[in-house]
Symmetry: C2
């Protein structure tokens, strides 16, 4: 489709310009973007009113409408996020020594941008600013294909960001918003292998499966977060309690919330009664194996094959395991390779768990809620990968780059 | 298709066992493989005779038949390569510190295998042993889908390798040879996203395009090598000459051979007459722009849009450029993102070239022929990526792994 190709080609041309900018130049553009967002609330708020009115007409849920809503403080928060990204370390251009070969060739690797990233997301207008800034900082062009619901807001935000681009000599297409939420156009974009390097879908499992199935471009997959807490026989039960309550109740609709509790049978009698009281107080609904259900007033019994659900609510599956191996086997079968946690005072058990569990983030004695880019020190997050190619886990600026080999000789030839 | 799923599932189960092996255990298996290959020439040679006879009946070219042919020394060379891989550093399990967060959380990253790799290749039976050993060392299961021509040889080699696996308690399916070269089965394998993590095609452009188009699993792409040598105005012309002759004539049918020569117009009068003489002596056919053609007896004139061909023969395109920017622009348009070389004594020009040129390997004052895994210090090479996701350039053992986050706390929860 000619329109998709035009979007992709122009973004790729703009990306070539971005790849040549210095860190100082990129930060100057980012600071200009933040400043303009703070100064130009009106056009953005006006566009958002249109989206909100359409959303109400369409009967969007209150939660959806709240995600869609922009206010002065929310726009300022986007500007703050862009200033924060300007302050992050720039991965591009970093040269790291690898080795000097016996023939004297010096081998190094240099970080470079990927090229063009295509973000596909639903009704969150702030993704436009966040992803635009992260891609700019990492030297990548970005094509933003948001949902129909937030389209006017996204276009208005992008128009402001593009002013900052153009005033600093960067083509506006470095941050491209697809102005047509047509499905055929999306499908055509997902075939632009010559111009788009990476696709990052953000949204529900249906969106991600659709994009993965249709794309000919590599896709970062993040299907779901079914995170477990395993309370080992050598656990400090106070720590386990705090980590459990934090992981399940601090925020529920997020992928790093706990969805499963595994308890070593030796500590269940000491641990679960306290858990039962707290869950009753906080209104956490419990599903469990028969041995665990006895500790809860209203637990619903669970079959051995029924685990692995992502509740995204005040709801959890509880199971006792006979030993450490039982916990490993449960996670191996029902985990989603997102985040898994052990609580134990036994350093060897912690290390074994961290080594053996196959998940993007494996923790000992800390809340699963720390499993995001900001909390892990990446500064900001463009997405989370639960597949292993290119990136595994929260993705920051570095995950938007790759490395090339840089080889320096004095005239060597191969024998 | 049930057969493809069975192959993939069994390989994935075996990969789980591989992921738990220590470096010493993996090296023991590799050494047993090498020893058994040296001891069991007969069944392999016998199977190879069948493939060779079939190949002759089918009228395979002499070059193809030579690639297919196994001899005692060739089998011993495979064994040597496996011993060499046993001696390489094991990337799996390596823990590198990232940072300690202000809240005391310790963040590290640990290298882990990818899971299952599917190699798709043509008539080179030695790929069976090489890829099998590299995947084993990096803790990955491998599914080897070679061409029909080498099938009996591959199965015989794999049977020997599998003896070593099984005698050391590793499931034979850790190295799976697809015993049926059926195209439908291949297509079904390329859809096994739940069990196969990476597809590496090795062969001609047609094979790679087919696999890329059909696969739902990430594919390492390596389409072609159109490598250029740019002789800068500040070049040492002796070095440039040696690097040119080495790059074009040492071996021609390889992707790191030179296919294009760019010469700064200021040094063309001093450089090209010498090149013309050497090319005439060595029988190198020349295509060129009008300004360059005058230096050659029988050069064929080239249109401005005709560059970028991969000759894989004693044949080269020669073009003069007005300046450094002209060389960058030519490579940007006609290069294949494989390997690009500048010869210059000007350190700033070398650094600018290395920074600005978008290729997996960018060299100053060294032959493009060094662009392979062994010569760049990777030990051995499983493939070369000319796309940027996951790996860019020659891929060694590390490119067959990824990193997970390892987080260690003392009970921290999120506010």
């Amino acid at each position: 489709m000619a329109k998709a190709q035009a979007y992709a080609q122009k973004a790729a041309q703009a990306a070539k310009v971005l790849a040549t900018l210095s860190t100082a130049q990129k930060n100057q553009v980012l600071k200009a973007m933040a400043q303009k967002l703070r100064q130009q609330h009106q056009p953005i708020l006006k566009a958002n009113e249109t989206d909100m009115a359409n959303g109400r007409d369409k009967g969007l849920s209150e939660a959806m409408l709240d995600r869609l809503l922009l206010t002065g403080p929310r726009i300022d928060a986007m500007a703050d996020a862009i200033d924060f990204i300007a302050g992050l370390e720039d991965p591009v251009g970093k040269l790291r020594p690898v080795e000097t070969r016996p023939n004297g060739l010096r081998i190094e690797k240099m970080r470079i941008p990927l090229g063009v990233v295509c973000m596909i997301y639903e009704a969150r207008p702030n993704v436009t600013a966040d992803a635009g800034a992260l891609c700019l900082k990492s030297g990548n062009g970005v094509i933003l294909r948001g949902g129909r619901e937030a389209l006017q807001s996204s276009l208005a935000i992008a128009a402001v960001l593009q002013q900052a681009l153009v005033e600093n000599g960067v083509p506006a297409e470095a941050i491209t918003v697809v102005d047509d939420p047509d499905r055929e156009l999306l499908l055509a974009l997902l075939k632009q292998t010559d111009h788009i390097d990476l696709v990052i879908p953000r949204g529900g499992e249906g969106l991600i499966r659709f994009v993965t199935e249709q794309s000919r471009i590599p896709v970062i997959q993040h299907f779901k977060g079914v995170c477990h807490l395993y309370v080992d026989k050598d656990a400090d039960l106070d720590k386990a309690f705090d980590i459990l309550i934090n992981g399940k109740t601090q925020r529920t609709g997020v992928c790093n919330a706990l969805e499963g509790l595994l308890v070593h049978q030796d500590v269940a009698p000491a641990f679960l009664p306290r858990v039962a009281k707290a869950f009753a107080d906080k209104g956490v609904r419990v599903h469990g194996d028969p041995a665990s259900c006895v500790y809860f007033d209203k637990a619903e019994p669970m079959g051995d094959d029924d685990y692995g659900q992502e509740y995204l609510a005040l709801e959890i599956a509880v199971r006792q395991v006979a030993d450490f191996e039982g916990a490993i086997a449960h996670i191996d079968r029902f985990g989603s390779q997102h985040t898994e946690v052990i609580v134990t005072e036994n350093a060897q058990a912690a290390a074994d768990f961290q080594r053996r569990v196959d998940a993007a983030v494996v923790m000992a004695n800390a809340s699963s809620r720390f499993s995001d880019g900001g909390e892990l020190g990446l500064g900001a997050e463009i997405g989370i990968s639960t597949s292993k190619l290119h990136a595994y886990g929260p993705m920051g600026l570095e995950a938007l780059t790759t490395e090339k080999f840089v080889v320096t000789g004095v005239g060597q030839v191969r024998e």
